[in-house]
Symmetry: C2
Subunit: 264 residues, 2 copies
DNA sequence: TGATTATTGTATATGTTTGACACAATAAAA
DNA sequence: TTTTATTGTGTCAAACATATACAATAATCA
């Protein structure tokens, strides 16, 4: 088990008074690389179990701001597309006092000399949590674990390890929401590099919709919508015709988005 | 100002310990009559200001159940279509201690002899509220005010009186959500009587979309989807051809709904 | 050097959906 | 019997979707 710094726990303990007592936020931070949709996960020091990055809401803080703060703390990124999608409020949303997580946390805290179980009690409470999803450019993000975690890394959406509590359900709901709101969300500009090929864009949509799209019809439809600039060709080194590079016409794209871009 | 019953306030005061301290639910309960979309509102006894029906969440209660409880308490209805749509968590979501609402509540409570301001403090706190929207058959609902309200009645969505706090914003968001999810929501079966004419169905969609639809194309499209039974004609008494009555093929309709019915 | 290869950009052919409008059928009133 | 307003259905052109064809082309290889 990795070390939990005593000072960080103390800091957290001091903040507890300033948090709303029964509400949290969890962020489903999505990225895209190697034709795979990725989600940022944390691994706890105590027991190696995985969870979504989340946090608590200060008494004097908007919940939207709390979500932005979590996003910023875990990725270093500001001004990112971030949308609330659902609030999870089952009465059993709490670490059971007999669960592995809780017992290991107890052990860790005892080792650090926190016999007054203020922090422990906090983590054992019921929290209603509001889920947010963010779309970020993996290349710009700098994943940072929090004080309870040793690892903060991107995981393939198709290969998610077991998650604590109902975090799996939260993730699934985020993906469902993303598919539903596909035509209202700045997918490409958030997840792709500045310049990309038509194939890149198609693979992105295929990864999210989880089904193949017809190449030539995809190309025709996208070009007709008219939100792409065409640039120089990209010499791939492969023995075939080189594809053009494209970039988004930012204003045109966002104008279209606000009305919903028609895909499937 | 109408009378607030001392015993009801006492009951509420006793329940306060059992509520989560910073979370509430608000319900946008929609009905349909006279070709108008309606929403159920409460009018406070203290100052005649209007609000959405809402309530608090018991420490041992799912938030979804809390919303169902509010719906049941205000309409007498169970097993109704009810969906969460958004959580409102601005840090200023609290009655200001200098607001009319709060001053009048103070006055009322003082008259009733509640000098220990437990109830007052409660209503002055910040609440994060989760919004739910319900679709109900107006004919079956029996509106009941709560102990702080004298009136519980249907208001035209096109003529909403000023509402407390951010309830106007909550209502707008609910309507926006409804329009967005139009193709996934059992509009007709929830809001229309068992048998109805094609015009009834069209007017309902027009009321929600807030724009006219072309009659003959609407009819063609609906009939092609094949989720309606055709019944006898309805003799309207008007000097023209009588329309058929229709009803929903429940299974067929819900099968289609789960994939999303294509309109707009 | 010229044939070979895989991929790209564009075109076409066919079927389906949409939106605007035409029109006959019809229940009741004039 | 004529008039009226509304309903159910038909039609026509435009837009769109789907499948497929095919030439252009960057690099490889015989």
């Amino acid at each position: 088990m990795d070390n939990i710094p005593h000072s960080k726990v103390k800091d957290f303990e001091n903040q507890i008074e300033d948090f709303l007592p029964n509400h949290s936020v969890d962020c489903v931070i999505l990225g895209y690389a190697n034709q795979q949709l990725k989600v940022l996960l944390l691994q706890w020091k105590m027991n190696r179990s995985w969870c979504l990055p989340g946090g608590f809401v200060f008494k004097n803080e908007d919940i939207d701001d709390a979500a932005h703060r979590v996003l910023q703390e875990r990725t270093g990124l500001n001004e990112i597309f971030l949308n609330q999608f659902h609030t999870f409020g089952r009465r059993d949303r709490a670490a059971s006092p007999t669960s592995d997580e809780y017992l290991l946390l107890t052990e860790s805290m005892n080792k650090l000399g926190f016999t007054e179980p203020k922090v422990l009690k906090w983590f054992n409470k019921r929290f209603i949590t509001t889920g947010y999803f963010a779309l970020v450019d993996i290349a710009r993000a700098q994943p940072q674990p929090d004080f309870l975690s040793s690892v903060c890394e991107w995981k393939d959406v198709g290969a998610i390890p077991p998650l604590i509590l109902d975090h799996r359900e939260i993730l699934e709901k985020a993906l469902e929401h993303l598919r539903l709101r596909l035509n209202y969300v700045p997918l490409g500009p958030s997840l792709l590099p500045k310049k990309f090929t038509m194939q890149d864009l198609q693979k992105l949509y295929e990864a999210i919709l989880n089904k193949p799209l017809e190449r030539s019809n995809f190309q025709r439809k996208i070009l007709k919508l008219g939100f792409l600039n065409r640039h120089e060709k990209q010499m791939t080194g492969a023995a075939n015709k080189a594809p053009y590079l494209y970039s988004f016409k930012s204003k045109k794209y966002h104008d279209l988005l606000s009305g919903g871009i028609g895909f499937l």
